[in-house]
Amino acid sequence: MTLLKKIGLIVVCVFFASAAQAQITIEITQGVDEPTPIAVVPFGGVHASDGAAIHEIMANDLRMSGFFRPIAPADMLSHPSRQEDIYYRDWRLLGATYIVIGNISRDEQGFALEYELYDVVSQQRLFRKITRGGTQAVRDIAHAASDQVYEAITNIRGIFSTKMLYVEDMGVDGPSRYRLVKADIDGARDQVLFSSSQPLLSPAWSSDMRQVAYVSFETSRPAIFRHDLVTGTREQLTNFRGLNGAPAWSPDDRKLAFVLSKDGNPELYTLDIATKKLTRVTNHFAIDTEPNWTPDGKSLIFTSNRGGSPQIYQIGLASGRVERLTFDGDYNARGRVSPDGKSIVMVHRENGVFHIAWQDIASGDMRILTETWLDESPTIAPNGAMLLYATQYNNQGVLAAVSMDAGLKFRLPSKLGDVREPAWSPFPK
């Protein structure tokens, strides 16, 4: 694909103070029509010393979800931290629908946040919870509390405690030109897992979040590596002639599906991690690539041009039966199954432009989610409500996110290099 020039969009950019240290920040480009106003009142008690106030991180999380409009602490008439100090009339005047109050305490083990969620309209407490964490876990505490608030109001599990992987191309030749980065989903706490002078591709999380697999060109030909995030050890899994690419973990983390072209043209294989047994899944003279497991682990979806143009197919691992899933358009690739297994997202070409599209598997209904150019590598949030993808903005590779109903859109531009190949983690166990 050649690089096309990107027309800059004029958008309202919202920068977040709490994410300022992070390399990646968030710009909301399209929110829902009427986000629910919520007041996250600055918490009472001790404050974390690292400067990141928990209530700010929570407000930022809730804003990022697109469903909420947090009220600035400066606009609040009071900062209650106990139930008896809440004057509902004041909050109704401010237009707040929900209030979060709480207290932070500190002991030898770390911080404990005791927080409560109130419905202003019914004047009722929806819950009261305590979240604990070590002294370094202020962000974990905040994200966990955001998850609870989000779930209590929307009935959808929150994704603020999840992580992402991405590949950053610093654009300067050298030993750390390509970097594999792990970060919180809001872009904060970015951490370089591995850097190389040669390209890195296709990072993939194991479902227990303890390992990642990716393609590295460090041995001069593409090879698939397994990287243990707990011990930091790396293991080279494949070293075949030709293409070694697109690793995907099975839902039980025992197998890895990927593409090899060792016998001439790209075919799907699975590798049993423990026994190192390699099994060939597809056998067709057309190209078969980009495998992704269905949540039941019984089949793979993949891209193939066996029908003359790239389309997404599904193959049963036991039966070997192949079924075509996409029929709209002459290019559908890089399919990813939603966590409920009912829909797929993919890269779809329309009028020569690559977009991210969503499709219901049973009905075949397709919806184009993005308006940007050269969109690639969609990766779905574990709650199935959003996806991340890579796109171009201001001639730079950036990550962007879109909700599955296309109602909410935001960009995560990097301060440094080109960012590509995002991978959204599963829920932390």
Binding site: M1, S202, T289, N305, R306, F327, E376
Partner: protein, 280 residues
Amino acid sequence: MYCKTLMAAALLAAANFVFAQVEVEDRTIDNSPSNAPYSPAATVEPAPAAPASTAVSGGGNNIAELFYQMQVMQQEILELRGLVEQQTHQIKQLKQQRLDDYVDLDRRISALGQSGAAVSAPGPSSTAPVASSAANSAAATAASSATVVGVASSPASEMAHYKSATKLVLVDKNYDEGIARLKEHLELYPKGRYAGNAEYWLGEVYLAEGDLESSRQWFERLMQDFPLHAKVPDAKYKLGTVYHQLGMDTQAQQILQEVSMSSGNAAKLAKDYLKQNFNG
């Protein structure tokens, strides 16, 4: 640069590969220099062909010809396979669409036959000849969404009986007869598909007659017998107003608030009623 983009390009250019191969082979046969600047791959490919020289050139040509034909056929097969896949998909869609259309048509004809029968035989005791979930009256609409499926021997007579009862209430405003007929319906079809609706209408009729206590009992019985019935939100709202008129304000507020949390018409009515009577 990036493997993924290379692969995408490869997928796109799959067709071109075939013709690129063709060019290479043509060049070895024709040895025409005009093709030289075209593909860098050509500089690698012809190398073994050149020393093959005259003796084996015939066999080489045959193999090249076969290879070329195989490539063409592979491409042809890919395209045909795509066509078959698309047509299979279209046939599947057409089959489904035909079925949907038929069901829709059947529903409409049934509805038509029913309204015709109602005109020709308006007597309340007449049994409607066609049983279906027609949607031309409020009662029938509610019936179609009823969750309890009747086990009565004749669904047609069950519906006719229920309709005659609701007609007495809604059209003729003959409440005493209507109550008797609705109760009779519940005796005949205690688990029938209209039992929930009959209980609801009994509550409504008693409310209209000002018999609040009986009204309360029937609404409560509906909620107990058919908690998932489509009429339950409406019944809850009405029950709330009944409680209020009976002076049971706590129960009234509780049940109205419960309804107002749901969605639909009853929720709105409940909200308005709460606002007017409880400043809530």
